[in-house]
């Protein structure tokens, strides 16, 4: 066995796992605060990335484009809270889930209607093919930067959750909706914050994915890849989302390289799900998920 090659695949998997983590993070934020499994997260990633890239193409400087995209995502969050979530309070989980699938269709249509459905090149000034050399392994520089961005985002988020008033309110809501309401935390405002944060995380994920793959419709399907990440990490845990992403990223790359050859390849598509299934068999609430206690 060629250990340098193994290392290369391993690190490559870790780095692509970081991208999954970024998408999964958006899911976790919303699930924690509102108990909604937001299937539209992938569409939000697409929408944010398209907005950003089109603004850049109009000749708007990058920082301004970031600001404008963030503002648009916040407006989107407010609209979603007003129009979709508020009337559906207290409905079954499956109804909320279906509503977010509807939302997914809507945002996908809107993103392509307002902008367009071509493939856009997003250039952040990083060479995609440049690589570090460690021993005999090549590590893609772009992936390293992406990992750094993701790491930075996680750090900022965890500081935000820990030290700001809003962050504390968010954690309170995540722990117990009713208790949070009874000490005077406005649930609706919190939902807007959460969806906005998820929107901004979606933007970061979209920009990173977009500059790697080109901004195109296929981005919205990363949402499906994020689901096993969530399962492995646990729906309610931010560190879980990160670790889950890394496990899935590594697992699928290693499986593809070392096992894929025996069974005809392209096992990347289902391997994460099988991995998730295995994890579920052993620990039904995910690695970091809160223990499920059921009472009659």
């Amino acid at each position: 066995m060629d250990w340098w090659f193994f290392l290369e695949v391993f690190v490559g998997g870790l780095l692509s796992g970081v991208m999954y983590s970024l998408v999964a993070l958006g899911f976790v934020l919303i699930f924690k605060a509102s108990g909604v499994f937001n299937f539209a997260q992938g569409a939000m990633v697409l929408f944010a990335a398209l907005t950003f890239v089109r603004l850049l193409e109009m000749g708007i400087p990058m920082l301004v484009a970031v600001g404008v995209t963030m503002a648009i995502m916040v407006i989107l969050a407010i609209a979603i809270e007003r129009i979709v979530l508020r009337p559906l309070v207290n409905q079954d989980l499956i109804i909320l889930f279906m509503a977010t699938i509807g939302l997914n269709y809507f945002i996908e249509g809107m993103a392509q209607l307002v902008w367009d459905s071509k493939v856009h090149v997003l250039d952040l000034g990083i060479d995609e093919y440049d690589a570090f050399e460690i021993g005999e392994a090549f590590i893609n520089k772009f992936d390293v930067y992406a990992a750094l961005i993701a790491g930075g985002l996680v750090l900022v988020l965890s500081l935000f959750f820990r030290y700001t008033v809003i962050g504390r309110a968010l954690r309170a809501v995540a722990d117990d909706h009713q208790a949070a309401l009874s000490v005077g935390i406005p649930l609706r405002t919190i939902w807007i914050y959460v969806w906005s944060t998820a929107g901004i995380v979606a933007m970061v994920a979209g920009v990173v994915w977009g500059s790697k793959l080109g901004v195109q419709f296929a981005i919205s399907s990363v949402a499906l890849k994020a689901i096993p990440v969530l399962i492995i990490g646990g729906f309610t845990s931010v560190p879980g989302a990160i670790l889950g992403g890394l496990i899935v990223g590594c697992g699928e790359k290693l499986a593809e390289v070392y096992l894929g050859g025996f069974v005809g390849g392209a096992i990347e598509n289902w391997f994460p799900y099988m991995l998730a299934l295995l994890v579920l068999m052993i620990r039904p609430e995910g690695i970091f998920g809160e223990k499920i206690i059921e009472r009659v």
């Binding site: 109804i95 279906m98 269709y105 729906f235």
Partner: protein
């Protein structure tokens, strides 16, 4: 005024538990069956039969299958299309290996294979539930799709991966025109619908509903969770497999894995949720809604704009309207079309008086 049970006394438990307890319901059911079997074939043209009614019936059957699992037994599944694919490929393979087998037997075999696969992927449901289970079924979806795409044995080493479905003959009659296909699908669907309706009011159906409402409580009163859940998976997948075989043989005329992708799974889940969880009529109403809405939007789109806007733009607007419609619908009536139907019937009992 006409729809009320006054004077119809149920003097035995058997009468109380009947499939259609009210006399008017029986008349309505007979009238509907007559309408489906006689009036529609007399008046519908080939376009309606081939591209609306037959697909509608085939997908209703899949929705019925999913409704058994999600609506009655409370287990969410995102892998419906995969079970349909198993049904289609299993019946195709049986016919290829044993050519003299009649296609109905092949369909049954397809359903049974799907049931087996369904039970296998239902095993995790003993330990996990809710969205975690949904992911387990997603695993089925992706794995089975991959299996049929990558192993040529399933497609009988066809080079293109797309296979023409074998011709069907029943009692010497070839089933090749829209009308005969319609009769075939309708008969199968009607039988299955009665089967499910009957099952739902039996001990098994009541056990499913108990598990759906609270599985720990159900276990505490002595319901065998493993048996109940796996049976739900089996019956549901059997119906889905049958629907898949119909979809491939009758609707598409080809057997291909691409026809059973994840979008199909979501489509069927939508049918069940919009139609109404836990009701047989809901599966049909939901399927009708999901089939007619895109056609309606499409026609409406080209009618309003008159072809001045590019088809791409119209497609995007359709997406938006479709999504908005689903959200709107879930907000207005989260219990689905079947619930609206029920409310309508309640109103009808009192009409024309307010109470």
């Amino acid at each position: 005024m006409f729809y009320r049970e006054a004077g119809q006394f149920k003097t035995s438990y058997k009468k109380d538990q009947a499939i259609l307890p009210i006399f008017q319901d029986k008349i309505a059911m007979v009238a509907m069956l007559l309408f489906c079997f006689i009036v529609i074939p007399l008046f519908a043209n080939d376009y309606w039969l081939a591209s609306i009614l037959v697909p509608f019936l085939a997908l209703s059957l899949a929705a019925l299958g999913l409704n058994v699992l999600t609506g009655y037994a409370g287990q969410i599944s995102l892998g419906t299309a995969a079970f349909m694919a198993v049904g289609a490929f299993a019946s195709f393979n049986l016919q290829v290996r044993v050519p003299e087998i009649p296609f109905l037997v092949a369909f049954l075999w397809g359903g049974l294979c799907a049931a087996g696969v369904g039970i296998l992927f239902g095993l995790p449901s003993l330990r996990i539930k809710g969205f975690y289970l949904a992911v387990a079924t997603l695993a089925a979806q992706f794995f089975i799709e991959w299996l049929f795409t990558h192993f040529d044995w399933f497609t009988n080493y066809s080079t293109s991966g797309v296979i023409t479905a074998p011709p069907m003959t029943l009692l010497g009659l070839a089933i090749d025109n829209p009308l005969s296909k319609y009769f075939l699908v309708l008969s199968i669907v009607v039988i299955c619908a009665f089967f499910v309706r009957n099952l739902a009011r039996s001990e098994i159906g009541r056990a499913w509903m108990a598990v759906r409402d609270m599985d720990i409580a159900a276990e505490a009163i002595g319901i065998n969770l493993m048996k109940t859940k796996l049976l739900a998976f089996g019956v549901s997948s059997f119906l889905c497999g049958l629907a898949g075989a119909l979809w491939a043989y009758v609707v598409l005329g080809t057997v291909e894995p691409q026809a059973f992708d994840i979008a199909r799974s979501f489509e069927i889940l939508f049918m069940v949720v919009i139609g109404g969880l836990g009701s047989v009529s809901g599966a049909f109403l939901g399927a009708g809604f999901m089939i007619l809405l895109p056609i309606l939007l499409n026609n409406l789109g080209s009618l309003i704009t008159g072809g001045t806007i590019s088809t791409e733009t119209i497609a995007h607007i359709e997406y938006m309207v479709f999504g908005a419609f689903i959200i709107f619908f879930l907000i207005v009536e989260p219990n689905g079309l079947a619930r609206l139907w029920q409310l309508g019937k309640e109103k009808l009992r009192l009409w024309p008086f307010p109470y």
